[in-house]
């Protein structure tokens, strides 16, 4: 087990920068999630740690040891690939045993270790099957077992759940969480799924266009986003972002609607700001009870809650309320925003205003 350090790492293909001068310190036994949309450089970052891509500049350290010039096989890592990367011509047993075999582990030791790894992910019954005779979830388990059969310094997981159906993804996520808790190995996990990031991570690094925009615990990322991008990427439905300007401590939308800002937010007059508020921080009430009266645009019942969409000028705002709410389209309602959870951002830079 070891820490992982990136020092001013850049990966460029000609003029295109996949990863742009990033530094990152991942602590020993930490579960770090790299989160971002496709093309943000998260997978490239992971592949550089694995040794499958060579950084254009900068240093990569595993423990105290610089590994830039080492082949993947010498880095003592294990990786789970998005498409699993199983060996189709080998049985499940052969797949799990391969990392041991190729590293010259005595054959007497291999059997018990393969059985133990298979037991951890409940594959014992399927050891003699070929990968093509397995379901997606089972293949995923084989890939996991192949990673945990050794105790590597670092686990790398590249969107390991993205090929599973929704239900299986949720149950595998819990298994991953349990597994990482028991194994206590430094893990770097790449995903574009913010729920995976929130649930699995010790810390999340939100990436965009080759840069880490914010690095922090899931709670920090969710409750204290540093920019519009981070705020809108995390949370489902996404945070409501309302454009407008500040005058005399009051937020005016471009259409003229007003919202008094609570103390604690910047109060000096300025144009071009974005007010952010999460759907669950907006409560719906009878007209006159809240900050602003509006007309219902759409009502969606998701089962566990009701999403009420209203139009405020040109913007649409979503409020999440309890599942017993009974509003209909065109009803007049009022909205009240929780003053403790309002965010202001600069419109052009996207930076948070504090």
């Amino acid at each position: 087990m070891a820490s992982v350090t990136l020092r001013n790492v850049t990966k460029a293909w000609g003029p295109v920068k996949g990863v742009d001068d990033q530094s990152l310190q991942i602590a020993d036994r930490e579960f770090l999630v790299l989160l971002g949309p496709s093309g943000c450089g998260k997978t490239t970052t992971m592949r550089m740690i694995a040794g499958l891509e060579e950084p254009s500049s900068g240093d990569i350290l595993i423990g105290e040891h610089r590994v830039n010039d080492e082949l993947p096989k010498d880095r003592d890592i294990a990786m789970v690939f998005q498409n699993y990367g199983l060996y189709p011509h080998m049985s499940v047993r052969g797949n799990i045993a391969y990392p041991l075999k190729v590293r010259g582990v005595a054959s007497a030791d291999i059997g018990p270790r393969v059985e133990a790894a298979a037991r951890q992910v409940e594959l014992t019954e399927l050891l003699d099957r070929k990968p093509k005779a397995l379901s997606g979830g089972q293949r995923q388990r084989v890939a996991l077992a192949r990673a945990i059969v050794r105790t590597p310094q670092v686990f790398l997981m590249d969107e390991p759940l993205s090929n599973l159906d929704a239900k299986l993804r949720v149950s595998m996520r819990a298994e991953l969480k349990n597994l990482s808790h028991r194994l206590k190995v430094t893990t770097v996990y790449v995903t574009h799924d913010q729920i995976e990031a929130m649930t699995l991570a010790d810390r999340v690094a939100v990436m965009s266009e080759g840069r880490i925009l914010q690095l922090g615990t899931p709670e920090t990322i969710y409750n204290d986003p540093a920019s519009v991008f981070v705020a809108s990427f995390i949370g489902s439905p996404a945070m409501n972002l309302i454009e407008g300007h500040l005058r005399d401590g009051v937020f005016h939308t471009t259409e003229g609607a007003l919202m008094r800002l609570p103390p604690g937010l910047p109060r000096q007059d300025r144009g071009d700001v974005v007010l952010g508020v999460r759907p669950e921080d907006i409560s719906v009430g009878a007209p006159g009870e809240g900050d602003v009266d509006v007309t219902v645009f759409a009502v969606e019942n998701t089962g566990d809650s009701v999403l009420t969409t209203i139009r405020l000028g040109a913007e649409r705002i979503v409020a999440r309320g309890d599942r017993y709410q009974k509003n209909a389209i065109d009803d007049r309602i009022s909205l009240r925003c929780d003053p403790a959870h309002l965010y202001l951002f600069d419109r052009s830079s996207g930076e948070r205003l504090r």
Partner: protein, 275 residues
């Protein structure tokens, strides 16, 4: 004509077309198969009922034809060609498939372009070269020529099969602790095996049937089966029954290989398609 009758008429026409096609393809082969078991006097009669004889087969192996020698030459030349071509082509195909090389597309096209040159054009330079090198009428010479013929084909074909292997699988093996060579040996070769067998058999067939170069570059010692056929144009006329017997001997291995290849070919073709 309603839709139903039209459908039926079309089906009949389709079957007739297929039968015509099969007949065109098979009649010569049936004729050869029959002639191989006929006496010389029966050859020109289209009799389907005759007393079959194995005489022709024993005669072609005896003096003055010694088809056995040609059979050995053909077998050795084709086998060695395949044994050399497939490993080298696999290496080249792997490099083309997996590494980004400067001028890669151009190189691939050039390799294929060597196939565009008509054999007749280069057979004379080959003859002069081989004469100077003392390779005329040797199996070594024929192996070299056949390699030049089958290599481009093998590289392209095997590259296609290696392209079909997901890169994730190779990268997983690299991370799991394999060197590049171990990846090739433990992962790529087993996964590409159906493709390698298919390419190997195709190369064997090409080398086995190669006629023009063998005709010009051999005279006595290294003569192969297709050239051997010419022996049966004798003073007493074309010995069709012997030629047919020799033809059968040439065809039977191809027939067996075709049966083998059929299974591998389908497997190889769909390998990349299914995860």
């Amino acid at each position: 004509m309603n839709a139903r009758t039209r459908k039926r008429v079309l089906a009949v026409l389709q079957n007739v077309a297929i039968l015509l096609f099969i007949a065109t393809m098979l009649v010569p082969i049936v004729w050869i198969a029959l002639a191989a078991f006929k006496q010389h006097v029966d050859v020109y009669q289209l009799k389907l009922v005759f007393t079959p004889t194995l005489d022709n087969f024993s005669r072609v192996f005896a003096a003055p034809y010694f088809l056995g020698d040609k059979l050995i030459n053909s077998t050795i030349v084709a086998t060695i060609t395949v044994l050399i071509a497939i490993p080298i082509a696999t290496g080249a195909a792997y490099a083309f498939s997996r590494f980004r090389l400067r001028g890669q597309t151009l190189l691939l096209v050039i390799i294929l372009a060597t196939q565009f040159v008509p054999a007749v054009v280069i057979v004379l330079p080959f003859f002069l070269m081989f004469r100077d090198l003392g390779l005329l009428d040797t199996r070594t010479g024929l192996v070299i020529v056949n390699l030049a013929i089958v290599m481009p084909f093998a590289v392209w074909m095997i590259k296609g099969f290696i392209d079909g292997i997901p890169i994730d699988t190779e990268e997983a093996a690299l991370v799991d602790g394999s060197s590049r060579l171990q990846v090739i040996r433990n992962i790529v070769l087993p996964m590409a095996a159906p493709g390698l067998v298919t390419a190997g058999i195709f190369c064997f067939i090409i080398a086995w049937n190669e006629f023009l170069f063998a005709l010009i570059l051999t005279s006595k010692n290294a003569v192969t089966l297709p050239i051997g056929l010419a022996l049966f144009k004798a003073e007493e006329g074309d010995l069709w029954n012997l030629m047919a017997a020799a033809g059968i001997i040439i065809m039977v291995p191809m027939f067996v290989l075709a049966l083998i290849i059929r299974r591998h070919f389908v497997q190889g073709m769909t390998m990349g398609a299914v995860r």
